[in-house]
Symmetry: D2
Subunit: 304 residues, 4 copies
């Protein structure tokens, strides 16, 4: 396929439709982003990148980073992770407490807030300097030392993250948080504050399209088996209560963030990232979803 | 890969482990099946079949037939189906009424009981003789005129199917059943009674591995796009509250039934069916799940 | 207190305010009632009646009859009733299935639909001709042979009672219905169809203000202890998800019906019934609630 | 009735049965209490006290204090309280978050944890020195300057109160907490730490048996109408998910605490308090419940 042309054409078509939805405002910093931004980057497994629009502007990847913290925890070899987390779709909103109550504080999966908080707790247990080691890990995976947390976003999360504070305390009450709640939630807020451009994002996630190996260097980030399983989790749990819709309309494993970013993977082929800040009613980027639907409708390449 | 050898070797290894779990007894007829049965059949897209064990013994495919009724409804071209059904994983047990209540009688997806009942209602609206036209459709898809309902199983379902009768009446109270509740639930009970061998089952589902086209004849059962979407729905919703576990450990779209059958699809390659009546605690065949895990661990071929 | 004057004055004041709310239309027959009706009758324990407005016009008492079927079951001496029913407020709507699912088919109390259906099942188990024996019992309690079911209402319930049919089948699936579902639900629909005037209603319920004994005749309907407990259940469970509001604003044990009737009891003193068909958003008579609030605000007599 | 004799006889009978249940251990300090304690005190509206057993030993009244903080908030005249709280029974456990999520952070009533936390928030908004003014108010109601918080219990609550910290943060995320979460939860933990003897407890609650007026002094604590309504709320919401059972078996408005205390009110007659630390499976004092059942069975005096 002529990737360059399809990316450009699809971009133009989506740019043409009305930019619907609403920008996330639950943390003040996110609300300041220009809703007109729209960027795309596809990185093939040989490292070639095809871009359109604002592919080189940094944005808050938010929940997309949950895939990276999960990969970090898996790479540390702690198999006990699955005693404290499930791998099932939640069937409910990203920050729901209902299931936690009926399921004794065990989150449904590592890609909802509660699950990512448990992953942060696991990292706190096994790292000496969790915040620094986490960002070093992510720079390493991204093969890009410039990637960083945003202090502004992290502070903004902190000063408004009451529901996440509720989640960590609630799980602590069930015994499923081992470390100090403040340390754990601090790491979580920093995790949520990571910024990348579309090009950095699709390059970073290249290992999930490449059997667990970093693009170009072939350095092992995850084993082949782990990599497949992270893709499986993204497929079933990556879009909160819209995982089925994404599988149905796009057909690639992926993960979205409330900053308006989405990353998706076609195993053995490429990763693609899209960014447009306005969100649909289920909290996923409106134009991002439309772009990926039209893109896979055109390429006919999905995992199904 | 040497399919023949892998199938045989995997079969022997699984046969060797303890046959755990419990046979479904919620309908008396199912309880009469010999729990020692164990059969496998893989059908490649060129029609070749590789078998092991009881691959030629008929069993009740139960919920697996929900994929066929969905395909039938889609092939009739009624796009309004998605106004009456969602495509999201349910996150709960196969016969739960809880979500229906909070979601106004709209089932989460067509592969849980409630959703399959709505599909039966849609078939009742668009067919003159739903029961006969349904079995004719399935014979047609299977390219096998011997496939049939089991009257015994259907009667057994009827005389014990109180929860399904509850579901159809509950949805009727929300206006999401258009026809007479007795007609709809009768069709549903017959749908659940279909019997196939492993070989018939994997051959029948071949169209989902073949872009919507029947194996060998290349007759279009579904369009390529519909076929991908049915696979996507199986992936996210095919195993009740164990969809994530199946994606994680097996990594293929599939569907299970309480008769102990499972069918799974590797798009563009093959379909595989397994049958062993004892179920694990989540209602999926114990040995069937173990077999498929070991099988894809060996082949390294999954959609991820 | 000058009952006569307080009743008249309160009636006039409530008549003066806007008649808000909506008449129940979920069964067609109820929708035909003139929404302007408004009647009140207070019966003191010596049998004196004070009335206002349409106190002598018959209406469908609907769920109010659930108190009578419960009394009947208790009077039969089957203490096992509390193994199949709880006595807790439901905290949810009158026809909710959610709790039934998490609580294994055991209804929260005998005054929600599910609980009353279990009571009907108990009656079916212990009576030879349940329908006739039930109406005979009620005539006996009322000391009035003219009280009857309404065939029209019962048929109307039957042809629209999908949710109640769902409830009985759902409980049957948990083993908490012992008789044929059709027989049980038929009795339930007839129970719901009983018609009384305000004067008949407050006289009938007199035994609950009189330590279990029928007014004037002093015939024992329930023991003193049973009578107190039926009042306790009305107090905590008589108004669906508005039991607390009724306790808070009125302060008497009572029971409402979607026909717009309410009956309330001041133990050792009187029973009072009100009827006005328009319902507030929680399904209780709008003017009925307003009347009782103002009435007990004036008399200062409540159980608290 | 011969109160003295009935109290003594009932006490002896209950002392005789096995002391079942388990002491609350969710906060370490509570776990240190001797489970053999058992005390009773009945205070009639003329101030006479009848006691049995450990009626003069202090214990942690825990949730019983929620009635006092509610009374304080009501006495401040802030009617807006009912926009931030409901008065319905919760139908679920005392610390459930489920309803809060579906009901947008509005607690079901002021006697469950979430509701009492909102009351604390209201007090924080209207008092200059909430902690001191609260204990002064309670001393004033009790007419006893020796009543105090227990710092030990409060600290113990704080160091283990993750679920309550979850609740306050969760409600803050819905906007239903106006003050700093730490200030609010600190007041709540102190409220929960108040200690009284049975005699102090039944005397303190005397105003609820006396139309809102303090016993003997007749000082108005609440208006008559407010007093009735607090009783109504205790009746429907005072025993978590056992409110119906208490109404059914005891028949008095009351409130229990996990310290093993229960207080109950017969309006216009008396208040009675019982203390025995072992709790039944619903979190209410095992011997306390048994005592009150037998007591009202003997006196035949209930509100019903």
């Amino acid at each position: 396929m002529d990737c360059h042309k399809i990316i450009k054409d699809t971009y133009v078509q989506i740019l043409d439709i009305e930019n619907k939805g609403a920008i996330a405002t639950y943390i003040p910093e996110l609300g300041k982003v220009d809703p007109a931004h729209f960027g795309v980057c596809l990185t093939t497994n040989d490292g070639t990148q095809y871009t359109a629009g604002d592919a080189h502007i940094s944005f808050s990847i938010q929940s997309i980073a949950k895939v990276l913290s999960l990969s970090f925890a898996l790479s540390l070899g702690h198999t006990s992770i699955w005693q404290r987390l499930d791998v099932e779709p939640s069937g409910s909103a990203f920050n729901s407490l209902v299931q936690l109550e009926t399921e004794n504080g065990i989150p449904r999966n590592p890609l909802i807030n509660a699950g990512a908080i448990v992953v942060c707790d696991i990292l706190c247990s096994h790292l000496k300097d969790p915040k620094n080691e986490l960002i070093e890990y992510i720079r390493d995976v991204a093969n890009d030392p410039t990637i960083n947390f945003s202090d502004k976003i992290a502070q903004s999360e902190k000063s408004n993250g009451y529901r996440n504070v509720a989640l960590v305390n609630f799980m602590k009450s069930f015994g499923n948080i081992k470390n100090d709640v403040n340390q754990v939630i601090d790491l979580y807020f920093y995790l949520s504050s990571i910024e990348m451009t579309c090009c950095q994002l699709s390059k970073t996630f290249g290992y999930l399209a490449n059997g667990g190996k970093q693009l170009i260097t072939n350095k092992e980030i995850l084993t082949r088996s782990q990599s497949k399983r992270v893709n499986a989790i993204m497929q079933t749990c990556g879009f909160y209560d819209a995982a089925g819709v994404f599988a149905y309309h796009v057909g690639l494993p992926g993960k979205s963030g409330v900053g308006g970013g989405i990353v998706a993977v076609l195993p053995n082929a490429y990763t693609i990232s899209v960014w447009s800040p306005k969100l649909n009613e289920r909290g996923n980027s409106y134009r991002g979803m439309k772009f990926l639907e039209l893109f896979t409708d055109t390429t006919h390449e999905t995992i199904f």
